[in-house]
C-alpha cells in the first residue's frame, strides 16, 4: 500500500488503553496490513474492487487527527427531536430535553477488546485504530418520547483521511428508541469514514434506525453494523443514503432470542458516479424468528448498485420466516446492478424465499401514463417514485416521512 503507510506507532498515540487492548489493536493492524484494502478476491467484495477505488482516488491517505473549528450548526426544524452531535466521528455534544432524566446514558465509546476477529480488512483496520465514537444506553422500561437524531458532521478540512469510529447502542428490556442518523458533510474533499456499529436489543425492546444524509458528498463510507436481537425484540433498519459517492453498508444480525424480528429496508436513487452497496447477513439461530429485507435501487447513468444478502438458518431454528427481495431499476446503459441473494438453510420447517430482479422502466406503464397527458420525464419520475414508495411508506411518522420524501425527490430531480 504505497498510498497508505501505517504502523503500530499510530496505536501508541491512542490514549488510556490497557495492554490487552493494545495487543488486540496491534494484532488487527497486522491483519489489515497482510490483507490490504479488499479487492474482488474477497467473497464479501465480489463485485467491488475497493483497493482499486482507493488507488484511483487517493494519492495519499493517513489517519492523523484533524483539528477543527466547530460552531454550533443549524439543526433540523422539520420535527421535534433529541440529538447527539458527532464531529468527524467524535462525540461532541448531546441534548435529551424531551426525555426523562436518568433514563439515558451517553459517553464516548472506549472499550475496544471484546470483538471477534474479522476477515474483512476494513473491520480489522477499525479494530486497530477506532477512537471516539459514542456509547448510548437506554435504561429498562423506557420508551423515547421523541426521535433521536444523530448529527454526523464532517468538517470542511477533512481531506485524504481514514476516520475510524466505533459506536454502540444498547436498548435494555422493554425499551424503545427511534434514531435518525443524519450525515452532514461539509468537506469538498475525498476521505474515508470506516465505522463499526454494535447494537444490542434486549428482551421486548425496539430499535428503529434510519440512515440518510443532507446532500451529495465526496466521502467514501463503509459501515459494518452488528446487531444482537434477544427475545421478542424488534429491529427496523431503514436506509435512504442516496447521494454518496461510495457507500457500503455491511449489516449482520444475530437473532438469538425467540420471536424477534429483523427488518432491513432500503430505497435508493443513484446518480452519476455513485456507488451504493448493501450486504446483509441474517443469522437465524433460534426458532420462531422473522426477518424481512426489501432493497430497492434506481440506477442512473454510470452508477453501480450491489446487493449481497444472505439468510442463514441454523438447524434448530425451526419455524423461521425469512423473506428477501432486491429490485433494481436501470435507467441508463452505463448503469450496473449486481446481486447475490443467498440462502443457507439447515432447518426444514421454515418459510424462506428470496427474489431479485433488475430491468428498466416498463414501456407499457410509461405509455399508460403518457396517454393521461404526462410527459415522458414526468411519467418516468412518477414510476421511479412509485418504485421506491413501498419502502418510504414504512415510515410511520408523517413529518419524518415528508423529510425523507423531500430528500429523495432532490436526488431524483438531480437526475
Amino acid at each position: 500500500m504505497e498510498n497508505f503507510e501505517i504502523d503500530s506507532k499510530r496505536i501508541d498515540q491512542i490514549e488510556k488503553i490497557t495492554l490487552e487492548e493494545k495487543n488486540f489493536r496491534i494484532k488487527n493492524l497486522e491483519l489489515f496490513k497482510t490483507a490490504g484494502f479488499p479487492n474482488k478476491k474477497f467473497e464479501d467484495w465480489k463485485f467491488t474492487d475497493f483497493r482499486g477505488i482507493v488507488d484511483n482516488n487517493f494519492k495519499k491517505l493517513d489517519t492523523e487527527k484533524v483539528t477543527y473549528d466547530f460552531k454550533n450548526k443549524e439543526l433540523l426544524k422539520n420535527f421535534d427531536h433529541n440529538y447527539i452531535i458527532l464531529v468527524n466521528g467524535s462525540l461532541h455534544s448531546n441534548n435529551f430535553d424531551y426525555e426523562e432524566k436518568n433514563k439515558i446514558k451517553i459517553s464516548s465509546h472506549d472499550n475496544n477488546i471484546n470483538y471477534k476477529l474479522s476477515e474483512n480488512p476494513l473491520i480489522c483496520l477499525n479494530h486497530a485504530l477506532a477512537e471516539n465514537g459514542y456509547f448510548l444506553e437506554v435504561e429498562e422500561n423506557y420508551k423515547f418520547k421523541k426521535t433521536l437524531v444523530i448529527y454526523n458532521f464532517f468538517t470542511n478540512n477533512i481531506k485524504d483521511k481514514i476516520l475510524n469510529n466505533k459506536n454502540k447502542i444498547k436498548i435494555k428490556k422493554n425499551s424503545e428508541l427511534h434514531v435518525i442518523e443524519y450525515t452532514i458533510n461539509e468537506s469538498k474533499f475525498k476521505f474515508i469514514n470506516n465505522v463499526y456499529e454494535d447494537l444490542t436489543l434486549e428482551k421486548n425492546s425496539k430499535l428503529k434506525s434510519l440512515y440518510i444524509q443532507s446532500k451529495k458528498s465526496e466521502g467514501f463510507f463503509h459501515k459494518y453494523s452488528k446487531s444482537k436481537l434477544y427475545d421478542n425484540s424488534d429491529y427496523v433498519n431503514l436506509i435512504f443514503s442516496s447521494g454518496l459517492r461510495f457507500n457500503k453498508l455491511d449489516i449482520e444480525s444475530d437473532l438469538i432470542g425467540e420471536n424477534c424480528s429483523c427488518n432491513i429496508l432500503s430505497a435508493l436513487f443513484l446518480n452519476k458516479n455513485e456507488h451504493q452497496e448493501i450486504k446483509t447477513r441474517i443469522n437465524h439461530l433460534v426458532p420462531d424468528c422473522k426477518s424481512y429485507q426489501r432493497i430497492k435501487k434506481v440506477l442512473d447513468t454510470e452508477s453501480k448498485g450491489v446487493f449481497q444478502g444472505k439468510v442463514y438458518v441454523k438447524d434448530v431454528a425451526q419455524k423461521t420466516d425469512a423473506y428477501q427481495l432486491s429490485k433494481a431499476l436501470l435507467l441508463h446503459d452505463d448503469a450496473e446492478f449486481n446481486s447475490k441473494p443467498e440462502l443457507e438453510i439447515y432447518a426444514d420447517d421454515v418459510k424462506c424465499s428470496h427474489g431479485s430482479t433488475s430491468g428498466t422502466i416498463d414501456e407499457d406503464s410509461l405509455y399508460y401514463l403518457m396517454t393521461r397527458g404526462l410527459s415522458r420525464k414526468e411519467s418516468t419520475k412518477l414510476l421511479i417514485k412509485g418504485f421506491l414508495n413501498d419502502v418510504v411508506n414504512f415510515i410511520k411518522n408523517p413529518k419524518i416521512k415528508e423529510f425523507v420524501e423531500n430528500k429523495l425527490e432532490e436526488q431524483i430531480n438531480a437526475h
Binding site: E363, D364, S365, Y367, Y368, L369, M370, T371, R372, G373, L374, S375, R376, E378, S379, L382, L383, K385, G386, F387, L388, N389, D390
Partner: protein, 244 residues
C-alpha cells in the same frame, strides 16, 4: 373532431390497418365493431400515439395533424384512451397520479393548476356522479383492482380529465351489468355537442346503453360497412362472417 384518411399501420413488419377512413364530428358517438384480430385495438393504440407502430396516412384532430405528436401531447390536447387492459402500477398512488395528470392537461389548456383541495372536490363530485367509491383512489394505481374496478377507474379518469374525444377500447369486455351501466353512465353524462366518442367493442351489449350515431364494422384492417345504430343488432344476429 377527428379525420382519419387512408390510415395504415404495421407492427413488426406485419400490416394490421390497411387503409382506414373515418370522420367523426363534434357531438357524435361512433362505434367500431369487428371480430378478433381485425385491428380494433391497433386503431386505439395508433390514435393515442403508442410507439412501435409504423404509421402512414392522415390523422387530423381538431384541424391539426397528429402524425408527429407524442402520446402525452395528444392527451393534453384532449384525446383520451380507456384501456382494454389498464396497467397495474405498484407504488403509485391513484389520487396523486390523477392530480399530476389533470394539472398537466390543465396547464396545456392554459388553465391554472389545481391545489389538492380543489382537486379532491372534483374527484368527489365525479365519483359520486358515477357511483364509484372514491376509496379506490387512495389505493395504488389499479393494483389489486378487480376487472370491474379497473374499468370504472378508467371511466372516472375520463370524467376527471374531461377530454374532447374519448376512445373506449373494449371497455365492456368482462364486465357485469352494474359495471357496464357505470361505464355507460360515464359516457352518456358527458355527451355534449362539443364532445365525441369512439366506442370499440366486440359485442352489441354495450350499445344498448350507449346509443351510437354510427356503427362501423372493421374487418382485416379496413372499415367494411357503416350504418346506424341498428347495424349493431343486425350483426349480433348474423355474426361477422357474412360480411366477408
Amino acid at each position: 373532431m377527428l379525420e382519419i384518411k387512408n390510415l395504415k399501420a404495421s407492427i413488426n413488419s406485419k400490416q394490421i390497418l390497411k387503409g382506414l377512413n373515418l370522420s367523426i364530428k363534434p357531438g357524435e358517438v361512433h362505434a367500431i365493431m369487428g371480430p378478433n384480430g381485425s385491428g380494433k385495438s391497433t386503431l386505439a393504440n395508433v390514435l393515442s400515439g403508442k410507439n412501435g407502430y409504423e404509421v402512414s396516412g392522415e390523422l387530423n384532430f381538431k384541424g391539426e395533424s397528429l402524425n408527429e405528436i407524442p402520446v402525452e401531447v395528444r392527451a393534453q390536447k384532449g384525446l383520451f384512451l380507456a384501456f382494454q387492459y389498464p396497467l397495474e402500477i405498484p407504488g403509485v398512488n391513484t389520487n396523486n397520479f390523477l392530480k399530476t395528470s389533470l394539472n398537466s392537461v390543465r396547464k396545456a389548456r392554459g388553465e391554472k393548476e389545481l391545489d389538492t383541495l380543489a382537486f379532491l372536490k372534483i374527484v368527489k363530485e365525479k365519483s359520486s356522479e358515477l357511483g364509484i367509491d372514491e376509496k379506490i383512489l387512495a389505493r395504488q394505481l389499479n393494483v389489486g383492482f378487480s376487472g370491474g374496478e379497473k374499468k370504472k377507474n378508467e371511466i372516472l379518469q375520463m370524467k376527471i380529465l374531461d377530454p374532447y374525444f374519448s376512445i373506449l377500447d373494449e371497455t365492456d369486455s368482462g364486465l357485469d351489468i352494474d359495471a357496464l351501466k357505470t361505464v355507460a353512465k360515464g359516457v352518456n353524462s358527458s355527451r355534449t355537442k362539443q364532445k365525441s366518442f369512439l366506442v370499440i367493442t366486440h359485442y352489441q351489449r354495450l350499445l344498448d346503453y350507449i346509443k351510437p350515431d354510427f356503427v362501423h364494422v372493421l374487418s382485416d384492417g379496413k372499415i367494411v360497412k357503416t350504418g346506424c345504430g341498428d347495424l349493431a343488432q343486425e350483426l349480433e344476429k348474423t355474426g361477422y362472417k357474412k360480411l366477408n
